[in-house]
C-alpha cells in the first residue's frame, strides 16, 4: 500500500469517528462557494493549527500570473486531529495542492477540503462543511488528482 492510499485509508477511519461535531465551527460558511472545488498549488508559508479554526497559507500565482498569498480555512485542531492532521502536518516551504471551496468575493482564500502533500499523501484538515472522504473518492475515480491543473475548478456536487 503506497503512502497516498495509506493516508487516505487512515483519514477515512479517522473521519468516520471524528467528523461529528465539526459542522458548525464558530461561524457561518455562507461566504464560501460550496458548489465548486478549485485546486491551488504552491509552497506553504504558514500552518496555523489554531482555535477556533486552523489556516494554511501558501504562496501561489493567481490567474494574472502574480504571486499571491492564498489562505485556506480548516477545522479546529480538536476536529482536525481526529482526521489525522496535527500541528506538524505541513512544513514551511512544502509544495502542496489544495482542493478548496473559494470565497464568493474572489479573494485568494477558501475552505479547505483536502490537501495533497508533497510526498503524495492526502491530508484532511477540512471543517465539516466538506465531506472530504467523498470528495477524495470522486477526484480519484475521475482521475482529477492527476489531471487537474493549478486554478482549475471542478464541480463539488449538489449542495
Amino acid at each position: 500500500m503506497n503512502k497516498t492510499y495509506l493516508a487516505s485509508a487512515l483519514a477515512l477511519v479517522m473521519g468516520a469517528v471524528g467528523i461529528i461535531g465539526s459542522a458548525l465551527g464558530h461561524h457561518s460558511f455562507a461566504m464560501f462557494d460550496l458548489n465548486q472545488h478549485r485546486l491551488i498549488e504552491g509552497q506553504v508559508t504558514e500552518w496555523n493549527y489554531n482555535n477556533p479554526h486552523s489556516w494554511l497559507h501558501i504562496e501561489a500565482v493567481d490567474a494574472d500570473g502574480e504571486m499571491k498569498t492564498w489562505s485556506f480555512e480548516g477545522a479546529a485542531p480538536v476536529h482536525a486531529t481526529r482526521q489525522g492532521v496535527t500541528g506538524n502536518t505541513f512544513k514551511k516551504g512544502e509544495f502542496v495542492r489544495v482542493v478548496m471551496s473559494p470565497l464568493r468575493d474572489g479573494r485568494p482564500a477558501g475552505a479547505m477540503c483536502f490537501v495533497v502533500k508533497g510526498d503524495g499523501s492526502i491530508a484532511q484538515p477540512n471543517d465539516g462543511i466538506c465531506n472530504a472522504n467523498e470528495v477524495i473518492n470522486t477526484w480519484q475515480e475521475n482521475g482529477w488528482l492527476e489531471n487537474t491543473d493549478h486554478l482549475t475548478i471542478r464541480p463539488a456536487g449538489e449542495r
Binding site: 469517528v17 467528523i19 461529528i20 461535531g21 465539526s22 459542522a23 458548525l24 464558530h26 461561524h27 457561518s28 460558511f29 455562507a30 461566504m31 504558514e46 500552518w47 496555523n48 489554531n50 482555535n51 477556533p52 479554526h53 489556516w55 497559507h57 498569498t69 489562505s71 480555512e73 479546529a76 485542531p77 480538536v78 476536529h79 486531529t81 481526529r82 496535527t86 500541528g87 506538524n88 512544513k91 514551511k92 470565497l103 468575493d105 479573494r107 485568494p108 482564500a109 465539516g128 462543511i129 465531506n131 467523498e134 449538489e158 449542495r159
Partner: protein, 338 residues
Amino acid sequence: MNTQRLAATCGVLIAFGAGSLTAQDRNSADAVGAEQASMSLPRVELPPRNFKTAEAHYKYLFDAADGGTEHTMATIPVWDGLWGSGNNTMPAIFLENGTLAVAWSRGATMKEGVLTTAYEEHFRQRRAEIEEYGQQRYDRLTNCEYPGMPRWLWEPYIKEFVNMPHQSWLMNDFMNETRRVYIGKEHVNIDGKHSSTGDSIGFWDEDKLVIWTKWVNPADYVRGMPLTSNKIEMVETWQEVAKADGGRQLVTQVTFYDPIGLTSPQSAVYTHDSRPDLEDIGVRIRNWECTSSSNSFKDQDGNTQFYLPGDPEYKDPRGFTDFPDVPGQSLNPIFDEE
C-alpha cells in the same frame, strides 16, 4: 397532549427514526448534521410535574432526594477522560421532525406557539435567512462572543468533567467555558450581573447530578435555532450510563424555563460519549484562542467575512508578540525552526 409531552414524543421518534433518513435528506442536510442525527438517543424524561419555575422543579427534586447524597471522594461518580458531544432532541422542540440535520438545512417547518411572539418572529426571520442563503449568515461566535447556555450542552468540542464533593467542574475546551456547579449551596451573585454560563448549584441523588442554572446571558440554543433570553433557567440531571456497545455515555435530561422566550417550559435530552480514542491519539485540551487568532467578522451587509494576510486588520496568530526585535518573541518557534 401538552407541548412538553409532544416534544418528548418527537424526541423519542427521532431517536428511533434517525437511521431512516432518506437520500434526499442526506443530500440536503449538512453531512455532519446528518451523521450526528443518526446517533442513538435516550428517551426524554419530563419533569415529574408541570413546574412553572426552575426553582420549583429543583426544590422538588431536592426534597425527593432527601436533601441529596453526601458523597466523599471515595464514593463520588468519576467521569474521567475526554468526552465528545453526541446527539440531542432540542431541535424537536422548535421544528417539525426536528433533528440536528433538519435544524441546519433548508425546508424545516417551525412549530407554532412554542416561542413567545417576539421570539417566534425572530426565529421565523432566522429560518427565512437559512431558506435564502442556506445558512444563518452570522453567528455570535464569529466575534468570539461566548456561546453560553444552553448551547454549551451541545457545542461539538471536547469536554472534561471533574466531580468533587463540594463542586463539579464541567469543562469545555470551546471558548474555555468551564461551568462550576456548587454542591449543596444556594445561588449567589455578588457580581450583580449575568454571565455566559451563569451560576449553577446542584446536589447528588446517588449517581445522578442535579443542577439548577440561572443568571445566564442571552444567546442561542445553537446556530439556526431560536434565541434564549436573559431570564432562561435550566434544571439538568446528569448520569453516566453504559451503552449497548460497552462505551460510556453521559445522559443529560434538561428542562428549559424561559418566561420571556418560551410559552411554556420545554425538555430535551443531550448526550456525551466517552472518547478514549482521542486520548490515544494525543488530544489534550489547550487554551482556546479566539480574540488573538480569529480573523472573521460581520461585514456591513450582515455576512460573515475574513480579514486575510495583507489586510490592515489581519491578526497573525503565529507572528510575534509586541516585541518582535527581542529574541524569542515568535509565536511559532516549532514551525519556524523546522
